[in-house]
Symmetry: C2
Subunit: 331 residues, 2 copies
């Protein structure tokens, strides 16, 4: 069963319920029962929610009745297989860290997202949970991301890159240089530094970075795709729509818009937890919610958490330079 | 006179010479005289150059005969009004910091670039010179960027934003929060935090950030524009080229490609120095070089350096929260 938070989505609880319907399968909604009478699936009445403006950890502690907290607890207590929300990422992270808890050896859960771009799928993490990280966290992110791509997307021995400002190993901040060293000495399929342009051109299956840089890169990508697609669309609209060429290009643009639409990838997944948690885009439509539910379900079916735990354990056994840092965390 | 480094450009010294010709006006080339016999402008024979792979400060010190060093010294000694190069940004920065020198009160020169995107021009800095900065450096970048947009692009009271992962003042790293506070309390037209999508959608005239984040954002933007334009172009090429719609869209795409082409903006400008220095994209064609020369010339004609020095002096006089930090630098 997927515990689906019906609060916090820009388009309201009814859109979330419609998303649950489209996803099919077993879903329980956590939200305002008054609005969810026609949901067509079980509803746990939880009208209280946590907004983006609240300090997440404090809000999660002070509002145990909030829908996101109840949904996370359902996972923690084995009543649900995964939790999905289109609300605050911070609240989800706090609720899951507090109740679902981190995997052994993981210092910081990360928010990971498949970049909504045409071409080879690339997982970027962290995209906002950890604004400041140490090199050992970046190494952990690399393991978490690689396990996700292997388990959920069937990528064998995923290539891993480090987002940086140059390809050479010595480029970037001292932390980036150290992370590069550790990753290069470890057992993962590390391909080295990846610059911003290579990131969006599919240079690696997994790209790790701190949450500040990752968030800026992700939003810059989304914004640029929108600006460029918009500029082309404006031209097509201005008089040439009826021509065959215009129509064909327009169809392709619709495809592109879908590819660069955050609704398509189903949202971000929280990695490093003892359970599956997916955060859909706040502006998700019903299809976006449905894709988020499907993503969560796939992670459950493919035993992502168990496989990640096992990989971290094995890495510990290997005692390589990179693996040794897993669980080292001095803070 | 503009001192133009003919070394280091991907397309070679002859392309640089062609760029000088297209720019017109008074230009002296610093490069291999043997290749520049037909340049049509004065040449200072300087075959030695500094590559991207060399450690910039060390290379600049150990190779006083390198073309970029000689060109920077020409500016320092008043024989040239500005220096332009399509070579290593690091070498340019090192040569200029050592010879042209920083403006009084400036701790760190910054590399600034007009984003090559359709719509309102946005200056982003730093895009790579300073991978780690303190809040007071970000405040200085704001002054430097605002002075540039005012002097060279005629923007009155330019709006300034801080690149961050949320709009709220408390978002981001502790350094970002502190920079926000200082900027909000200062005399600049500070509009607050700007996220990655707002950056590329023209939310502010000037956006400041550290060189790591700025470099990643810039390259992510360039890469995404390329990927999206490429995807549309592929469709048009696949059979519908001859139709009117296809042709019109194709023409618009050519325009867009030009707008998202780093050659158009003339390259990055180094701000905070006692002289004008422009770094053209390494892959610049002759037009890119010509635009870089024109950018440098405009900065000279509009007395950018003098006006920046005056603005920094006045900010010091104002003794505002933000201004007080100018020159404070404890390191």
């Amino acid at each position: 069963m997927i515990a689906l938070d019906a609060n916090g989505a820009d388009r309201g609880a009814v859109t979330v319920a419609e998303g649950a319907r489209r996803a099919g399968g077993s879903v329980t909604l956590y939200g305002p029962a008054a609005e969810l009478a026609d949901a067509g699936c079980p509803v746990v009445d939880a009208p209280v929610w946590i907004s983006n403006a609240e300090e997440p950890v404090r809000a999660v502690r002070s509002k145990p009745e909030a829908s996101i907290v109840q949904a996370a607890r359902a996972v923690a207590e084995g009543r649900a297989d995964a939790v999905v929300s289109a609300g605050s990422t911070g609240a989800m992270l706090a609720a899951c860290t507090l109740h679902v808890k981190r995997l052994k050896g993981v210092n910081r859960p990360a928010v990971a997202l498949l970049l909504p771009l045409p071409g080879r799928p690339t997982l970027l993490l962290d995209v906002g949970a950890n604004v400041e990280v140490r090199p050992e966290h970046l190494v952990q992110f690399a393991y978490l991301g690689a396990c996700f791509m292997e388990a959920v997307h069937g990528v064998e021995r995923p290539s891993v890159g480090l987002l940086n400002i140059g390809e050479e190993p010595g480029k970037g901040t001292p932390d980036a240089v150290e992370a590069h060293e550790r990753l290069a000495g470890g057992p993962l399929n590390f391909i080295g530094n990846v610059e911003g342009n290579a990131l969006v051109q599919g240079a690696a299956d997994v790209v790790v970075t701190d949450g500040f840089t990752g968030n800026v890169a992700l939003k810059t990508m989304e914004g640029t795709a929108k600006v460029v697609v918009g500029a082309v669309r404006d031209t097509i609209r201005s008089g040439v729509v009826s021509s065959l060429g215009g129509l064909l290009v327009r169809r392709r643009l619709t495809g592109l818009r879908r590819e660069v639409d955050p609704n398509t990838t189903g949202g971000a997944i929280l990695l490093g937890l003892r359970g599956v948690a997916v955060v859909a885009h706040g502006s998700s439509n019903a299809d976006g919610i449905a894709n988020a539910v499907r993503l969560a379900r796939r992670a459950v079916e493919e035993r992502m958490v168990e496989r990640t735990a096992e990989a971290l354990r094995q890495a510990g056994v290997l005692r390589s330079a990179a693996a040794a840092s897993v669980g080292a965390g001095h803070g």
